[in-house]
């Protein structure tokens, strides 16, 4: 019921596959997906393990609502120790792959060890096999998807895998499923590459049953109605995608621009949702073709775009003259505003390559941006970039960078290190806009104070999706707080972090929380599985997951000093917009946050906290 009750464990070193029962006791404590898989990981690996060694494990996990009619119930997460951060990594993806894994009869897949040569894995219902991947190693995600479907003569197979970037262990390489949905962050693709696993192909013909069908249909129907009636999930996201944010965040003066030297981008409108929907001068067609949903999603925020065939990026490459995943806000910002590039077609092409070769566009764009600053300062030279004129605002340079990084070649090898290692290598670590080694996404911690604290304390390094305080600070969901103030932000961040950990463990998409609270989610979870799931129980579980992740990071060697922001946010005031003159108030928010969390001033959960949460 909800859970399939089965976990697939694949030992790559010894080339064995086995089925084992899902630990039901843990499932009651950690629900599924992020929570449950993290519990397995922290129990099974040493926190100090090298993320790219065979001793690390890689878990693909669904939640109890994955593969059900709950709106957005198609998510899965990839859990491992991340090579970009050396911290816990948990990257979440949509598309159809997660539901297919559930339909094949599995709650999770655990990959352990390392294959002696490249392999791919097939899971056709209850039959799992490790197969020779020599023919697809060295090829893209897109080619691999096509090859596997052809090889097994089944177009209904769903594939999750890595491109050349993952094989070459680019430290922010992604795992991509269904061509353009990705478990994007923290370098989970590099871990897959380090294990010599190219892809997991899944086909399931079974179904998902729920505990109480009648209650489930009622709860999910009520939930869908709320999503439909909400301005953001009912209209904003389907029409504009997450790109609805571009002009809003720019006006709020919280748009990181040119490696966060600026907080507003003069070209924001050129790369916005509105620009994507406007017919191009060249061919009279808009960049955006349509929106698309992931499995079960009644919001449908996904973008499907087509690049202008005469654009310099693809005019001699007909293989890119087709529709594919278009720009989401984070990608448009990272590849655009953050590098100063305002060529929408170029950004769409770079995004295509990120999908095709499996790169996280946030960390990629932010690393290029840091490299551009080093180039401007004369620290990186044209000799060192292999001839790339790496100037802020250059679409040509950005395109060269993505082609090289996607294949881990030339200067792309340097960029593949991520901004923290790249800037440290050149003696300027302060120019990396990251926490715990992972680059920040598209919101500036000076113009939106709460998100700065969320970045600094995120268990997977700089990230907006561990505690999306933008909801409150910009949109007033569930209630409006002043983005320029630090007052109350510690509590806000904690509340968002705990609730998000619960959502990430359920099989649902966090975007539902623009409209849903745990009061909408709990009845759906409760009708699907045993356990008497209330909003209170979900929050408590979210807090338990957060602390479990924190304890892992502490064991891995992280301390309070890693809960930090780069000096630029703490010392250089915002130059324009509503936040002009402001720096991040992290120093005031952090002690308050530790106290609320029940942690010592060194950022360690107290014994009382540990026992209260049953850890």
């Amino acid at each position: 019921m909800g859970w399939t009750g089965k976990i697939l464990r694949i030992d790559l070193t010894n080339r064995t596959v086995k089925s084992e029962a899902t630990n039901k006791e843990w499932a009651q404590q950690y629900l599924g997906q992020r929570g449950l898989a993290t519990k397995y990981l922290v129990e099974e690996i040493d926190a100090k393990v090298d993320p790219l060694s065979p001793e690390n494990k890689l878990i693909f996990a669904t939640g109890p609502l994955t593969g059900t009619a709950a709106s957005t119930g198609g998510r899965y997460s990839v859990i491992t120790k991340g090579p970009l951060t050396n911290a816990i990594a948990c990257s979440n993806s949509g598309g159809y792959w997660g539901a297919e894994l559930k339909f094949a009869g599995w709650d999770m897949v655990i990959l352990e060890g390392k294959a002696s040569s490249p392999v791919y894995i097939t899971i056709f219902d209850d039959k799992a096999e490790i197969r020779d991947g020599g023919d697809i190693w060295g090829t893209s995600v897109w080619h691999t998807d096509e090859w596997i479907k052809k090889r097994h003569q089944d177009p209904m197979i769903h594939v999750s895998g890595i491109g050349i970037a993952g094989e070459k262990q680019v430290l922010y390489s992604a795992i991509v499923n269904d061509l353009h949905r990705a478990a994007g962050r923290s370098g989970v693709g590099a871990v897959m590459g380090s294990k010599n696993v190219k892809a997991i192909a899944v086909r399931g013909t079974g179904g998902t049953k729920v505990r109480d069908g009648k209650a489930f249909l009622a709860a999910t129907a009520a939930g869908k109605k709320v999503l439909q009636g909400n301005g953001v999930t009912g209209q904003g996201l389907p029409t504009y995608g997450t790109q609805v944010l571009m002009n809003v965040i720019n006006e709020a003066g919280a748009m990181p621009t040119r490696n966060s030297r600026d907080v507003q981008f003069e070209g924001a409108h050129d790369i916005s949702a509105e620009a994507m929907a406007t017919p191009r001068k060249t061919d009279g067609k808009p960049n955006l073709l349509t929106n698309q949903a992931c499995f079960g999603c009644t919001i449908a925020c996904g973008r499907i775009s087509k690049i202008d065939e005469t654009h310099f990026t693809i005019k001699n490459k007909p293989e890119y003259w087709k529709a594919s995943g278009g720009l989401e806000y984070e990608a448009a910002w990272a590849l655009g505003s953050n590098t100063g590039v305002k060529d929408l077609e170029a950004l769409t092409y770079v995004n295509f390559i990120c999908n095709e070769q499996g790169l996280d566009p946030i960390s990629f764009g932010a690393t290029v941006s840091a490299a551009m600053e080093l180039y401007e300062l004369g620290i990186l030279t044209k000799d060192m970039t292999g001839g790339i004129d790496l100037k802020f605002g250059s679409a040509e340079a950005l395109v060269q960078c993505v082609e090289l990084t996607g294949k881990g070649e030339g200067f792309g090898k340097e960029l593949g290190l991520g901004s923290a290692r790249l800037t440290a290598k050149h003696g300027r670590p302060e120019l990396s806009m990251a926490s715990k080694g992972q680059e920040f996404p598209a919101y500036d911690g000076r113009g939106i104070q709460g998100i700065g604290l969320a970045y600094a304390t995120s268990n997977r390094g700089g990230c907006h999706l561990r505690g999306y305080t933008i909801s409150s600070e910009i949109f007033g969901i569930p209630e409006k707080t002043d983005p320029l103030s630090t007052v109350g932000k510690a509590g806000l961040v904690k509340a968002f972090q705990d609730a998000t950990a619960a959502v990430d463990s359920s099989g649902l998409c966090v975007f539902t929380t623009f409209a849903w609270t745990l009061n909408d989610i709990a009845p759906q979870v409760d009708a699907a599985i045993e356990g008497g799931w209330t909003p209170e129980r979900l929050v408590e579980m979210g807090e338990r997951i957060w602390n479990m992740e924190r304890q892992f990071n502490n064991r891995a060697g992280f301390t309070a000093k890693d809960d930090s922001l780069p000096p630029r946010f703490l010392k250089e005031a915002a130059k324009t917009g509503p936040a002009k003159g402001l720096v991040s108030g992290l120093d005031t928010m952090l002690p308050e946050y530790y106290a609320l969390r029940g942690w010592t001033k060194d950022g360690v959960p107290t014994n009382e906290t540990i026992s209260r949460l049953g850890l």
Partner: protein, 165 residues
């Protein structure tokens, strides 16, 4: 009044709520591989298209069935009678549209039966890409859009209904 499922692929987002509703109605579990309606993703064109049985007036499946397992009800729906069907699959060959299929777990064929007059797929569709309408008026919405273009375009600012391409 006869009613039919009317499908507007331009509104489909590919969420598969129709497939889940269909399988739950028929199988009491969420199982898209057992759905009588299927959404096909033509991703290179950016198009998602739901497709299912249209309840032909003179149905090939019905005419091909050697044991007369397929009957027509008052609403024109072609129903498979499981206690008569022998699982020979001849109907799956005869159907020009591929919308009647064999279910290996029961040994019978399955097809859309419009859920006895209240199709779960149409009910579940969040974008009205699938609606259940008077069969004789199924095209009227589309006609109206074209009519606006032909006759009242300037006043209404109407645009060709094929807005996506």
């Amino acid at each position: 009044m006869l009613k039919a499922l009317v499908i507007d692929p331009g509104k489909c987002t590919g969420c598969k709520q129709c497939e889940m509703a269909c399988s739950y109605e028929n199988e009491l579990e969420f199982n898209v591989s057992k759905s009588r309606i299927r959404v096909f993703d033509f991703h290179e064109q950016g198009k998602m298209v739901p497709y299912t049985c249209t309840q032909c007036a003179e149905a090939w499946c019905q005419q091909a069935c050697p044991v007369n397992a397929i009957t027509t009800d008052a609403m024109g729906v072609k129903n498979v009678n499981d206690n008569i069907c022998v699982g020979c699959k001849v109907c799956t060959i005869a159907c020009p549209f591929g919308t009647i299929n064999y279910n290996a777990s029961t040994g019978k064929v399955i097809k859309c039966d419009l859920c006895q007059g209240s199709p779960a797929c149409a009910e579940a569709c969040p974008t009205a890409a699938i609606t259940y309408q008077d069969v004789e008026q199924a095209g009227f919405d589309k006609m109206k859009q074209w009519a606006a273009l032909a006759g009242a375009g300037e006043q209404t600012g109407a645009k060709a209904p094929v807005a996506k391409h």
